[in-house]
Symmetry: C2
Subunit: 220 residues, 2 copies
């Protein structure tokens, strides 16, 4: 019985990592579509999101089965409940990658980001991809030292996100209202993606150490 | 044992309703602060959000205790896991009310919404409050007939949300870039609030009937 249980727990962990890897792929393609105004790539991301949703559902059903059949307690129980929370965050990260791809598709053949903001959004994209990659590694290895890199990426994204609003508020801002809306939403999507990444990171830390880390106000 | 268990389940249900009522209050005050440029009321909402976060955490701990001590199966197990999901959605709704209050505080003594858009945002606010009220009633009574009213409010909010972007894209739009950003974010907060309300509604329906209702694309 114990052996079956450990195999089930292992399987849930594997599936979390697998979802995280699909989220990374989605964000890589979404940001490439976003930066390159590539509607086919955007379409790929939108279509592939169903796979993430399916895997989340599958993981959740598996977790509920384990709860019903094995009646786990203590840290095993917390690990399974934590997996349900983490899968929800990862699924949401997939949605946000899809939203970025949808913006790219909506504006095709135009680029979403006007020239003066290209570098800002490109850095946000790189940071989100990095967070997602680190998350897969964290989920697989439980090496908590990776967490600080994730928090650092998130802090930088929060700075960039604030910088977008500062740029929009400056007297030199001469971008159309529609484009201003696009940039506002895109910036928010990138920021939310990182924020969910931080949630998962904090959850992994909690499951490994049994203690919650204090959360900075900026990561809310 | 069974009696204790039923009492625990009941308590979890009560706590969900209580959180939902606090969310309604938060949204009522947040939208009043938003529409009336009332910074004190906004501050109330921001401070009160900690109470919602606390109750969510308390509910989650209680649910995990029940899982550990009672080892529920079948529909009881799904009800408890469902409660964890619903509490997360309600907590997020509280955050969104807080974000609306924060926008009001940020722009004080100015109003966030310029004259031509007042009616649109006021309708969104009323619909979100209505969704939240219906949700409390649904959680308390499990009367699934309330669901269609919630879906109808959500559909109307989606129309209004699309209408905001249409207005911004029109050649007559002559609102500042900063204000355009505020309206984009506010509209998204109202839309997300309703969307989380729909998630909770669908979850209650699933727990009562055992079947998922098909989801329209617009509610994603």
């Amino acid at each position: 019985m114990r052996k079956v249980f450990q195999a089930e727990l292992h399987q849930i962990g594997e599936e979390l990592t697998q979802i995280s890897e699909l989220v990374t792929e989605a964000m890589q393609k979404a940001t490439a579509a976003f930066e390159g105004a590539d509607t086919e790539l955007a379409q790929d991301v939108i279509a592939a999101d169903a796979r993430i949703d399916f895997l989340q559902n599958d993981l959740d059903e598996r977790a509920i089965d384990v709860l019903a059949l094995q009646g786990p307690v203590a840290s095993d129980l917390r690990m399974i409940v934590g997996s349900l929370r983490m899968s929800a965050s990862l699924e949401r990260m997939g949605d946000l990658a899809r939203h970025i791809a949808q913006l790219a598709r909506l504006r095709y053949p135009e680029h979403v980001v006007p020239e003066p903001m290209v570098e800002t959004f490109s850095e946000m994209a790189r940071l989100d991809i990095r967070i997602s990659e680190l998350l897969s590694e964290l989920l697989e290895t439980r090496n908590l030292e990776l967490s600080n890199d994730i928090y650092a990426c998130n802090n930088r994204i929060n700075e960039l996100h604030a910088g977008v609003f500062k740029a929009i508020a400056s007297p030199e801002w001469n971008v159309s209202a529609v484009s201003t809306v696009d940039l506002t939403l895109a910036s928010r999507y990138f920021e939310r993606f990182a924020d969910h990444g931080v949630s998962v990171t904090r959850k992994v830390n909690y499951l490994v150490t049994g203690e919650w880390q204090p959360m900075s106000e900026s990561s809310r």
